[in-house]
Symmetry: D2
Subunit: 330 residues, 4 copies
């Protein structure tokens, strides 16, 4: 039984609390949050204790820490938890600064503690099935990857301002998905981005619509499309062309009802946002973490993966600004 | 908080135990089973106590009883639990004998206790969405209903022999679905059935493939198709033609991946069987029961509904045998 | 080059005229119609001559006659054309009277001339592909057939009155489809029918909504659903369950565009009616007739097939009236 | 009645000959080809005369010329036909040289003759329906366009060598599609390309897999994916995200049959290549040309459109070579 401390009692912390409790091999011992009331509320609901973060990290009974705090605290908490001998699952991104993330990577390496980054989409059954089909060779050699990833609506501009920008906050998931599907990192990246959805996003120095092209050492190509607004719901699709075929992972729909009338044929929309779409993926992510620790499996997503995706986000931010291709250091 | 006793610790009892525990307004107090070890195992996993059935029914702390025992005990247990002042949710069918079920209905009525029958498919989000669309008038007046309901594989012949036959054991779900969607009971029924899947089923006096036609007082028509074998998975679809359109509730698929190769385009199969398809429906069914008791809502499925479906199953069994249409008493 | 006379210059005659002209191995020589102007107009458009029917039948240059006149003339014209030594393709149904059709069958047999009945749906590429897949054994042994066949809107009541009724006029196509797919004729038939779409249809003694169940000698089952009104378009689907799987032939859509908005996801309707859906099938039907005559292939649909479907229509008319199952003579 | 001369009797010339003959307002008078036998064969089949090109152009009876010859002759023949007072429909591309095409544009302008370029995909009913939906405002303001365009298999390397390269030969269709859908030309273009399908294509100096990103003056973005090999068939899809929704034009399939077995669910492949997919589009293209000439409608695709797409192809070729973004002159 894995004894777990949860840092962060916000929306995503609550999602993780449920995964921890529902997994038969993990138990939630303690919750901390800078808002003590939030920690107390979640602790009460989940049958655990509200504590200060230090108290969580210093509790020798606790085996693992799940970090679901604000991004600016991730690196510090990863380091502190690792130094305290805890296994760590940390939400993405590792940091907004690639340099800081790399330092974190070095410091963690010195502790030898396992650190997994929460790229939850790898655990979505659809993307996971696509990856497996590709690995099985169902479509021969993978040559051209296309990722469509649209949010239903932009977050508040106040959030945008501290988010690190679309590439670090939103497309970082898609960079990791590209790394996951293609099984290697690209060597060059080209980004274009615009503020089309909300002029305030542009005024805040960010883009809300972007396309990034990735090229690989052997000539393979990937393209990622992002928009902060798809009014019909969370649009999350992956498409992979190979020498022997095409794989597509399509959206999940709210229900399977189809209505045909004189006005046309209509069906349900995609599940609305990440909670609706990815709740089972969060549970599977947690199970993978638990299994890595208890069964001795490899971590399916590492801190290196988190740093790699962040490096791509930083390169994309630069490319969108300068208009030039950016080489990705090997 | 609803305190619940669970009678029956088999496969479906375990499904209900999870629903009871996961619902924030119900708690599982005790479990009984004729196999004491099964009760003890489930009690241990669910943090409840293993008890004799009498002890469950006589515990004044227990508010409600969920009956998930073998069919031949349903009527007796419904009556006993009602007489003991418990609210009841009982798995379908009420009984294999329509007469016994009618007696049960009268006896329960005398106690005034609420009894709900577990027609879980009413709580499937797809069928539920279809029903709501029909009630909203999206397709005008409903005129022609078609239900397709195929199991992936037949049960053991030993089970078939005690099941009451396809119409009472399997199609009873579809009779209730017809009643649910059409909002009334038919006046006449015609059934044809054959043993095509497994000759042993025919030798046991049952059919494994059947089509039933229902006609309503105002001329509306419904047709139900059943097969004990659909090797591609659990095929559960409903289609309703109305004066202003068509509604279809299609299968849920294992994932959304589509593969296109020189050999063709392939996609995932339907979810395999009722546990895969209807797990969320069981949770929604339980929530509806809890809500009826705690919030004073109407029971969404009553013992009358259970008796009505059983009457249709009995009529279908007769029609398939005689080759004649059977009038359903009003 | 097959020299062809066309009897009937109405809507369906015009469809056939195009097939005759577009086929590189047939040429349209003459057109007749009781409305001489209609014949003259079509003759002018198609580069052929308008003639009296007798003149067409007596022209030794003409090899084949296509009969697209009103149903009450079919038997007489089939007999006359056969007696005149012509090969015949006649629109369905052979006749409204089964007795008359049987007499026609005997009279034609005496001439030895080939007569094909225009069950165009056999030549639809979707139904044809389903049949081929079944014959290849893709789904093992076919066990349960379901045919959905809805017209977009009912014809005028004046037409209904002379049509022979829904079973002879509309469902006869589906009876032939069942014979085509199952490869044999059923032994028993049950029909229910109602007038739900238009009370005038009921007052005219006909039904507009019907379900027919067919049973086969070895216990296999087929079910046919008909409605005169599907406001979303021509709904023509076939579904066949076998021991190793399911085959479905779905509708063809007007286009492949899908629109996703906040209101939902919408797509194109089925092609509107038989001209939109089956135009390629009419051309394929004609090619099959030409090929049978010029290449010595078997006729893919015979006069016997036409009589068999008519016998089923007559039985269904009786069953819907009496409420009883009707045995089909072998 | 439009009297037409056809230059070029190859595969695409034969397609056009059928469109000309089947259109009730045009008639094919003469065919020319550098291979006289090809011209004679097609003339015989189509009831027209085989002539020298000069004889076609000098025939005062001929109203319009359809140019379906090899690309290197297009500019010369457009100029000659226009100078001879003929209306022209010419296959894409206008030329392999942008400079030559611009000269052609000027020379044609001096004659005042109408010249249409054969971008047949604009007349595909699916892309056309998508464009109309966008113009109606169904998805608000169009913001992000994605075009997927894969051929089933690469052409012979001998063809590749004279084709002008993937961008001029294949993606030029997609450049025009982008111009058609977005209603304006982009201001900047980025291309990446690789030879992944066949090393001989790379050795010939061309790419077989490419992604091009287009950016528009107001920040809108389009992305085009091309591959010379999609073993499952001709993959031709367009997807347009707007402020109020998404439009997708999907592939057309060979048939609508779906097969479900223990191995999975399979359906038909996309129509195999451009003849299967776009035959109706060629007929609609010709009708649009006829209608422009006879009814006084605007030409739906002009020589300017052909030059614009060629300019994009030239820019893409450069961008793929240099790795830099290319500005498109206004």
């Amino acid at each position: 039984m894995l004894k777990v401390g949860l840092l962060g009692a916000g929306r995503i912390g609550q999602v993780h609390a449920a995964s921890i409790r529902n997994n038969p091999r993990s138990t939630l011992v303690a919750v901390s949050d800078v808002h003590e009331q939030a920690a107390e509320k979640l602790a009460a609901e989940s049958g655990s204790q509200a504590r200060r973060t230090e108290a969580v990290l210093n509790d020798p009974e606790i085996d693992a820490v799940l970090i679901a705090t604000s991004t600016d605290t991730h690196s510090d908490l990863i380091e502190a938890a690792s130094a305290a001998g805890k296994a760590v699952l940390c939400e993405k991104p590792v940091d907004l600064s690639l340099e800081r993330a790399k330092t974190c990577l070095r410091n963690v390496a010195a502790t030898g503690q396992p650190v997994m980054i929460g790229f939850n989409r790898r655990f979505d059954r659809n993307f996971s099935a696509l990856k497996q089909a590709s690995q099985r060779g169902d479509i021969g050699k993978a040559e051209l990857l296309a990722i469509t990833s649209f949010d239903p609506a932009p977050p508040p501009v106040s959030y945008i301002k501290v988010s690190g920008g679309l590439f670090r906050d939103m497309m970082i998931h898609d960079f990791d998905m590209a790394n996951f599907i293609m099984g290697e990192q690209p060597v060059q990246l080209r980004a274009v981005g615009s503020s089309l959805v909300d002029p305030e996003i542009g005024e805040a120095g960010d883009v809300d619509t972007a396309v990034v092209t990735l090229t690989y050492a052997d000539g393979r190509i990937a393209v990622i499309k992002n928009s902060r607004r798809a009014v019909y719901g969370y649009d999350q699709r992956v498409e992979l062309l190979g020498s022997k075929g095409l794989l597509q992972a399509n959206n999940m729909l709210e229900d399977t009802v189809v209505k045909s009338t004189a006005a046309g044929v209509s069906s349900a929309k995609p599940t609305y946002f990440f909670l609706e779409r990815y709740m089972p993926a969060y549970a599977a992510e947690w199970e993978a973490f638990v299994s890595a620790l208890l069964d001795g499996n490899d971590l399916p997503v590492t801190l290196d993966d988190g740093v790699a995706a962040l490096a791509m986000a930083e390169a994309a931010t630069e490319s969108a600004r300068t208009g030039k291709a950016v080489d990705l250091a090997s």
